[in-house]
């Protein structure tokens, strides 16, 4: 191929990429770098008109951030949300996937659609509904009172608020993992199961020693996918608890949004970058997994 032809092809190729590159550069790369840059300055809401007149403050925002007990609380809350939420979501999703895997055709499709439905709904809207259910005299406590338990004021109790949000997140996200696990289960070759059965392994034994080890890549992929979402939890806290009571449901994303609201853009950027770093690490794991699957 001649040099001229090659140059022409390169031009055409970049022509195809132009709209994407323009938007992606302006609205994605610039803000990513901007956020990084702002986290090293004393940028506040007053500096919007003259963004380049702010002072470079080095790691001051990060020092302030980690000195702030509320930020440490936000990290703890986010970590709890992820560490408790992920295994719960995965267990329920796996139970559903196993139950559906043995079934056939239409019935499976029916249940799959039903359990997946919450995934497509707006978190804001379902948060409103769950807040209504979790009121002191809401549906949840009415149901508990039938078996003689008098339930707490879930969302205004600093012990129960976070677990309530976790249960709602599990409810909303199980569908995604169920689909991924079901696809994984259907790829497990039937003869492996038959061999294990011949060796006298029962159903539970087959699950623990054959199915789950074979599904390891799928399980890891699912865990990473969901954790990237859980690390950013925000809407639930915004609508249901306002981060409270006593910061019991204050997530890192919510903390960032609050600092933004206070006009502390530098601090908000630093907080978002700490979260970004964690998500990047988790994503890196995912990328590795995707690659090793191909």
């Amino acid at each position: 191929m001649g040099a001229q032809l090659r140059r022409k092809q390169a031009l055409i190729a970049w022509g195809f990429c132009l709209p994407f590159v323009a938007v992606f550069g302006l609205f994605m790369l610039v803000p990513i770098l901007g956020s990084f840059g702002m986290s090293f300055t004393d940028f506040t809401a007053r500096d919007i008109q003259t963004p380049f007149s702010v002072n470079f403050t080095g790691l001051q925002q990060y020092t302030d951030l980690f000195a702030d007990a509320r930020f440490r609380q936000a990290m703890l809350v986010t970590a709890l949300f992820v560490v408790i939420g992920i295994p719960l979501t995965m267990t329920v999703a796996m139970a559903l996937a196993l139950a559906l895997n043995s079934g056939s055709g239409r019935i499976v499709a029916f249940f799959r659609v039903g359990f997946y439905a919450p995934v497509v709904t707006s978190i804001v809207a379902i948060s409103v509904v769950w807040r209504y259910i979790l009121q002191p005299e809401g549906l949840a406590n009415q149901a508990l009172s039938v078996v003689g338990i008098s339930g707490p004021d879930w969302l205004n109790d600093s012990t129960w608020a976070l677990p309530s949000l976790i249960v709602m997140a599990v409810w909303r996200n199980v569908g995604t993992l169920m689909i991924i696990f079901l696809a994984g289960l259907q790829a497990v070759p039937q003869d492996v199961h038959e061999a294990a059965t011949m060796d006298g392994a029962g159903a539970f034994r087959r699950l623990i020693s054959v199915t789950l080890p074979l599904l390891r890549p799928t399980l890891l992929l699912g865990a990473v996918l969901i954790s990237v979402g859980y690390l950013q939890f925000f809407e639930e806290a915004f609508v249901m608890t306002k981060g409270g009571p006593l910061d019991a449901t204050l997530s890192v994303a919510y903390y960032t949004y609050q600092q933004f609201g206070f006009g502390e853009y530098g601090l908000a950027s630093a907080a978002s970058y700490v979260l970004f770093l964690v998500i990047a690490l988790v994503s890196l794991v995912q990328f590795r997994l995707l690659r090793s699957q191909d």
């Binding site: 195809f16 994407f20 803000p31 359990f115 209504y132 995604t176 696809a183 990047a280």
Partner: protein, 269 residues
């Protein structure tokens, strides 16, 4: 476990699973007195459409709905066109900077909105675009995920097909529009659905970028009503939730095969 028992347990589980939706729908037809009654009633005793007529009347549901639809519509359209163009270039052409571009797409695949919204807000304010449709649409009009999806699919289209067209003298744009795009039905469906879903449910950015009622999208309007002076007017809030959830639920039921295939094949929400 015998199959019948499994289905029995699954059915009970599914009923419990969908109970929040049912409870939401029932509650949206109760008046404030009945919402507060203890013990609660199941079926609305005196069904009322008052909660809905409030949304359609003084609360400008139509505006919010239109805003959500306009934003989602343009976002989907932009993604379908622009992402497939880049996907084609990345999959089937050679050009300097290709590796760099693809690398940038992959690296930013998982960048959360919480990282970009502060500088984005500053930028959009400086551009004078705050509280405009452009501010709600432009940042999402292309996305790395779409580029990745389209590239992966177009890689699988045989080169021979494109070569044949090239020999016939077709230009790259013609090949893209007449040969590649018509083959891209499945990934375009997946991308369209995923994009519509995330736009319809998007919250953080519209919350900061839309600053007056005439630009609110549905989730923003609902969240502000639910945390403002109407915070305990559950009849109204539940009706609002129904109005946000039902359109997307109907879309999901109509296209559920594509939704589920999309999740299973991409492994991405």
């Amino acid at each position: 476990m015998p199959r019948r028992l499994t289905y029995g347990v699954l059915t009970i589980g599914l009923v419990a699973w969908l109970l929040p939706f049912v409870w939401m729908a029932l509650g949206s037809f109760k008046n404030q007195g009945e919402i507060l009654r203890r013990p609660p009633t199941w079926w609305p005793q005196t069904p009322t459409g008052e909660n809905y007529s409030q949304w359609f009347g003084p609360l400008h549901f139509g505006t919010f709905f239109t805003n959500s639809l306009v934003v989602a519509g343009f976002t989907v359209l932009g993604n379908l066109v622009f992402c497939s163009m880049v996907g084609y270039a990345l999959a089937k052409m050679d050009f300097p900077g290709k590796k760099l571009l693809f690398g940038a797409v992959m690296v930013t695949l998982m960048v959360p909105g919480v990282v970009t919204f502060v500088p984005l807000f500053v930028m959009v304010s400086k551009m004078g675009l705050l509280n405009s449709y452009a501010a709600l649409i432009l940042p999402f009009i292309t996305a790395p995920l779409g580029v990745f999806l389209m590239r992966q699919f177009i890689l699988g289209i045989p080169d021979a097909l494109l070569e044949a067209a090239r020999i016939d003298g077709a230009g790259e744009f013609r090949i893209f529009a007449r040969i590649v795009m018509p083959l891209c039905g499945p990934p375009l469906a997946t991308l369209g659905i995923l994009t519509f879903l995330s736009s319809w449910n998007n919250f953080l950015w519209p919350l900061v970028a839309a600053q007056s009622e005439d630009r609110y999208t549905l989730p923003v309007a609902l969240s502000l009503y639910s945390t403002g002076q109407n915070a305990t007017n559950y009849g109204l809030l539940l009706a609002g939730s129904v109005l946000v959830i039902v359109p997307i639920l109907l879309l999901f039921l109509a296209l559920q095969r594509y939704f589920i295939q999309g999740v299973a094949t991409t492994g991405l929400k």
